[in-house]
């Protein structure tokens, strides 16, 4: 059953190629790495942010500032799903985000609600000059008017399927897969 429930969309090599291109796009949009802050949304966006920072360091000589956003307390579904006791920490680069170009990094862009929460949290932390959204996978199903600026791969999937990004730190490998929603991961 597990065979039919999981379908590979991108293997490690494909993800790495996509990240390399996304890193170039980020730097190009910002005209260099000066003033750039990569803020990954915990937990997988955070890991992808680290990989993108490595790519940028390779191309530009030094890494951009990085941080991580935990949006648990900014979610809009507390009453529906109950509290999530696993609340991670939000970390900012020492110089903060005021006046800088902040790139929000997430694994999959789906409803847009996570990004809405991340934007609200960012505004509580400071006033970035500009905010960009960068996602490894983008799919249909937006519930809010939010679009990504930089996309690794656009995938067409039926509503009952979920796109999953797997990262080495949490899942043991780097890949993007299509999963039937019955399967609990």
């Amino acid at each position: 059953m597990a065979f039919t429930n999981r379908l590979p969309l991108m293997d490690e090599a494909a993800v790495r190629r996509a990240l390399a291109r996304m890193a170039r796009e980020i730097v190009e949009r910002n005209a260099g790495r000066e003033g750039l802050v990569l803020m990954g949304i915990r937990r997988r966006g955070d890991v992808l942010g680290g990989l993108l920072a490595e790519e940028i360091a390779g191309a530009e000589g030094s890494p951009p500032s990085v941080g991580a956003l935990d949006i648990t307390l900014y979610r809009d579904d507390l009453a529906e799903v109950g509290p999530r006791p696993v609340i991670g920490e939000t970390t900012l680069p020492p110089a903060g985000i005021d006046g800088r170009t902040v790139v929000i990094i997430d694994d999959v862009l789906f409803t847009g609600r996570t990004v809405r929460a991340a934007l609200n949290e960012l505004m509580d932390w400071g006033r970035p000059a500009r905010v960009l959204l960068c996602v490894l996978a983008e799919r249909d199903g937006r519930e809010l008017p939010i679009q990504a600026d930089i996309v690794g791969r656009r995938v067409d999937v039926p509503p009952d399927r979920r796109v999953e990004v797997l990262v080495p730190e949490l899942d043991g490998r780097l890949a993007v897969e299509l999963v039937a929603t019955e399967e609990v991961v």
Partner: protein, 324 residues
């Protein structure tokens, strides 16, 4: 820190008695990330936006009430404070009528301090709002117990296996009871120390050791939780004089220095300096009294967040004895 188990709390927090170690750990682990919110420039997250919380205080309190209020405001809840003086309570309204009238104005939670033991449970069983006990008589003060646990864990890395001695007026102390239940649930060894007139009869049956001399307690303990000598409850002649109490049971620098270990000193406040604790101890390096106050806000945020999360049907299910 990531909680290994998420154990739901149910509708209310009445006491630490009967809570499982996993439930207590869930609260403490949830409090960890909340500490950071109070360090932010904008000390506010929107998680309880639109929730109305009533702080119903039938006994005087500054620290606990302010701490709850900060916790509520930093989670973006709307708060109303009611104290017994100047409310319809002095006109003879019953507790349930007061609460039902508040409910009729559509509230979500009640944080209550009351002079009668059992008042919090009494209220919780009669209204659908979440109830948090902020101290009821001599029964329990669960958020104080939790913030003590969090402070001890912060400084010693764990609770399990630690030797914690509660010194002073255990008889009148809801803090002592919440501490004993919480510490025992998390696997600490617990002792109490004080004049026999201020120790409940049969306290050994709670699973605690009794020390008659504070020197003996210090010989044994890793952590000392020094209770306030409740002067307003002292009409009964429990101690001959404050000076004598200080001479025999006061925690002094000399006594701490004679102890074989570096003992951590807690005090729930407000302190009677020179009675149960000397100033050079209260302000000394082993004192974590102000850390307790800081942790109090984080712990209360965690409790409010965990209780508020459930949808009404979940709260109802919890009330029936199931888990939300």
């Amino acid at each position: 820190m990531i909680p290994s188990v998420h154990a739901p709390l149910g509708k209310d927090l009445i006491g630490l008695e009967g809570l499982s170690a996993d439930q207590i750990r869930t609260i403490l682990d949830t409090a960890e990330p909340f500490k950071e919110i109070s360090e932010r420039r904008i000390k506010k997250v929107p998680v309880l936006r639109g929730k109305t919380i009533v702080n119903l205080f039938f006994e005087p309190s500054t620290r606990t009430r302010v701490s709850f209020e900060f916790a509520e405001k930093r989670l973006s809840a709307d708060t109303v404070n009611i104290s017994s003086s100047g409310s319809s309570v002095v006109k003879g309204e019953t507790l349930v009528d007061t609460a039902r009238n508040l409910e009729a104005m559509k509230i979500d939670m009640v944080v209550m301090r009351h002079g009668a033991s059992g008042a919090a449970r009494f209220l919780a069983e009669r209204i659908p709002s979440n109830v948090v006990n902020a101290g009821d008589g001599r029964h329990e003060h669960p958020t104080q117990g939790l913030l003590d646990l969090l402070t001890i864990r912060d400084h010693r890395g764990k609770i399990e296996g630690l030797r914690v001695c509660i010194v002073g007026d255990v008889l009148h102390s809801r803090v002592a009871r919440s501490n004993i239940f919480g510490l025992l649930a998390l696997g600490a060894e617990v002792a109490v120390c004080g004049p026999r007139t201020l120790l409940p009869v049969g306290i050994e049956q709670m699973g605690v050791t009794v020390f008659d001399r504070v020197e003996a307690a210090l010989e044994w303990a890793d952590v000392l939780n020094v209770l306030r000598l409740q002067l307003e409850r002292m009409e009964g002649g429990f101690v001959p004089s404050l000076r004598e109490y200080n001479r025999i049971y006061g925690v002094s620098r000399a006594r701490l220095e004679a102890a074989p270990r570096e003992v951590l000193v807690l005090h729930p406040g407000p302190m009677n300096r020179g009675v149960e604790i000397d100033s050079d101890v209260a302000d000394g390096p082993q004192s974590v009294i102000l850390n307790q106050v800081t942790n109090g806000v984080a712990v209360r945020m965690a409790v409010l967040y965990l209780l508020a999360g459930g949808a009404p049907d979940k709260a109802e299910a919890a009330k029936q004895g199931g888990e939300a």
